[in-house]
Amino acid sequence: MSKLLLLGDEAIALGAIDAGISGVYAYPGTPSTEITEYIQTSKEAKERDIKSMWSANEKTAMETAMGMSYAGKKALVCMKHVGLNVAADAFINSAITGANGGLVVLSADDPSMHSSQNEQDSRFYGKFSFIPILEPSNQQEAYDMTRYAFELSEKFGIPVLLRITTRLAHSRAGIERRQGLPQNEIHLPSDPRQFVLLPAIARKQYNTLLAKQEALEDDGLTSGYNTYINGNDKTLGIIACGLAYNYLIENFEDGEVPFPVLKLNQYPVPKKLLKQLYDSVDKILVLEDGYPILEELLRGYLNLGKKIMGRLDGSIPRAGELNPNIVARALGLDVAEGFDTADSVKGRPPKLCDGCGHWDSFGALNEALKPYSGGRVLSDIGCYTLSALPPLQSINSCVDMGASITMAIGAAEAGLVPAVAAIGDSTFTHSGITGLLDAVNRKASITVLLNDNATTGMTGGQDSSAYGKVEDICRGVGVEEEHIRLIKPLRRLHEENVKVISEELEYNGVSVVIARRECVQTLARRMKIKAMEKRKAAETKA
């Protein structure tokens, strides 16, 4: 069978289709977005009626998937690592309810923070919730382990966390596909109270969850995803989790590592394998992308046993993504060097696109804020976060999805009046609406600059849940009609826009200035498709 050249993300998507999912639920977030996009554009997925519309946020996605699992069908949930914070309430409790139809939660971590505000390690969530974790090392494993995740989920009646990092998500390699499985028929849980987490039931279910842990650990011995590879040189033993295994192998001719290696891809990690390695070597090097979870586990707080090397003892940098060179240095191997970087190389940070409406919207905001002292703009997560950089330098915060409005309320209540919240349309429906309700109820003196570009821009232009609904939502939440203002962020309307924003800054209450203009990227894409359709139509006529 010929191989398919797929991103790690796409391999997971295909694995899920072939595992027989009936739905994928997600909110876009780099580096996880391409999984859902693959399913959305897959002909097979369409033929099988696999649900794949974007959810409003990761929590609604997780809960919708739990509903599908409750009804007996298989569901995949996808998010970036910080999305799991949003979904955490549902995620952690899903361990207590357990799964009926297979339920797999994919969380894509971003060590080195290529497109994120932190590098939290999702494996902690797995451990925290007593949910088993699968962590593929390569694209083929990403495909295979996605399928296995559903098998594991249904075998133990528990959700499974699939953990990847940016490097695997966005790297391509050849994948071999296997025969797909059918979707499940609807079947409700045999215990009708399985999902009712009243304390009395939850206590019982929690004990069931704890009791499953030993069997889950044993599964890690038989699944084939945790392997002990013997080596003759016992001066060192190496534990390589997920992707780290590739960086290890890269450093040895034909992948022949002289030391015993424990390749780990499934958690909870079997104690038997750890003990086998620990007993046969002098010291251990732990290679894991993300936090030093396994390292800390082995080392204990006091490190009284054998020497454990990794991020905590400085053998590997404490923060950031692994690579072959970091692993080589930890092993004491020679590292080749290239040329010195010339002084003529300057930094080229990302910036807003030419012609983007955010330039005009924040340009107008900057001018309207001139009469006031600085530091008043609490912002959010999206392309417009780039307005923090020169030349605009408009915003003073970017923390988590939706934090702009709520932080502005707090700042205003501290006396920073007026305070401004800058948020995008998709972030607004993700986590901004409840904050706006707070603002209205508290009569906070804030002005919300709602940048409505009709898309989820930063992640590449996915449909926004807010589309066509922004004014109605503001009204519904209770913002006064005369303080819901619409502007079109264009250079030629600059004076007019400054005036509108200035008026609302002076208003001692909640106002929302909606700056509406389509994202230039989605506009260009739409025009391209239109031109192509026109050409096709002309060709068929001819």
Binding site: L5, S344, K351, C383
Partner: protein, 194 residues
């Protein structure tokens, strides 16, 4: 056979198109392939790169180790220099367009950039926009650079041509023709200049 390549440029310049063409050609030759891409935030006018590894044997790491890169292929001169710390000191080649993409306030003198490139032992610098324009459109500049890199790729030239036909088929016959011409023009330039 083993080639470790860094593709470099600025977001939106078309390095992923080059990657797709090389990848398609390499697969049709039955080679193994790994290619790490940049998606997300950095795509907005920032520097972008892709690690592309082709080999007749299994490839372990998605990332190329430092000092082991055989080929830097860049659509922008300053961007080509960003990765020379990865380039193999004895055998590495740098192939780049000479056309600057100036979207930052402290972009250096082009002469300074080119002089730094010309200090390297093996390089091809090409006015890709001029060559592309001569073939019909400046939009094919990325494919001109690919053409200039083609003598160093160890992939049959006909396979690159076939890959271009496949990749651009959706965009119409004119685009296929333009890019085939751009590929050949880039290749001829590189052969003449070295």
């Amino acid at each position: 056979m083993k080639k470790d390549i860094i593709l470099a440029g600025v977001g939106g310049q078309g390095i992923l198109t080059i990657a797709t063409i090389i990848g398609t050609a390499a697969l049709s030759e039955g080679l193994q392939l790994k290619q790490a891409e940049v998606h997300g935030m950095s795509q907005r006018g920032g520097d972008v790169q892709s690690h592309m590894r082709i080999s007749s044997k299994n490839i372990a790491s998605d990332l190329i180790p430092e000092g082991k890169v055989d080929l830097i292929i860049s659509i922008e001169p300053m961007e080509s220099l960003r990765y020379v710390n990865m380039l193999h000191k004895e055998t590495g080649w740098l192939i780049t367009s000479m056309n600057p993409f100036n979207n930052i306030s402290d972009y250096p003198d082009l002469e300074e950039v080119l002089n730094d490139i010309w200090k390297l032992p093996h390089y091809v610098t090409i006015d890709a926009e001029k060559v592309a324009k001569e073939q019909g459109s400046v939009r094919a500049a990325n494919i001109v650079v690919l053409g200039a890199a083609s003598p160093y790729l160890d992939i049959k030239f006909e396979l690159l041509e076939t890959a271009i036909k496949n990749v651009f088929a959706k965009k119409g016959e004119d685009m296929v023709k333009l890019n085939l011409k751009a590929l050949r023009a880039g290749r001829n330039y590189a052969k003449k200049s070295t």
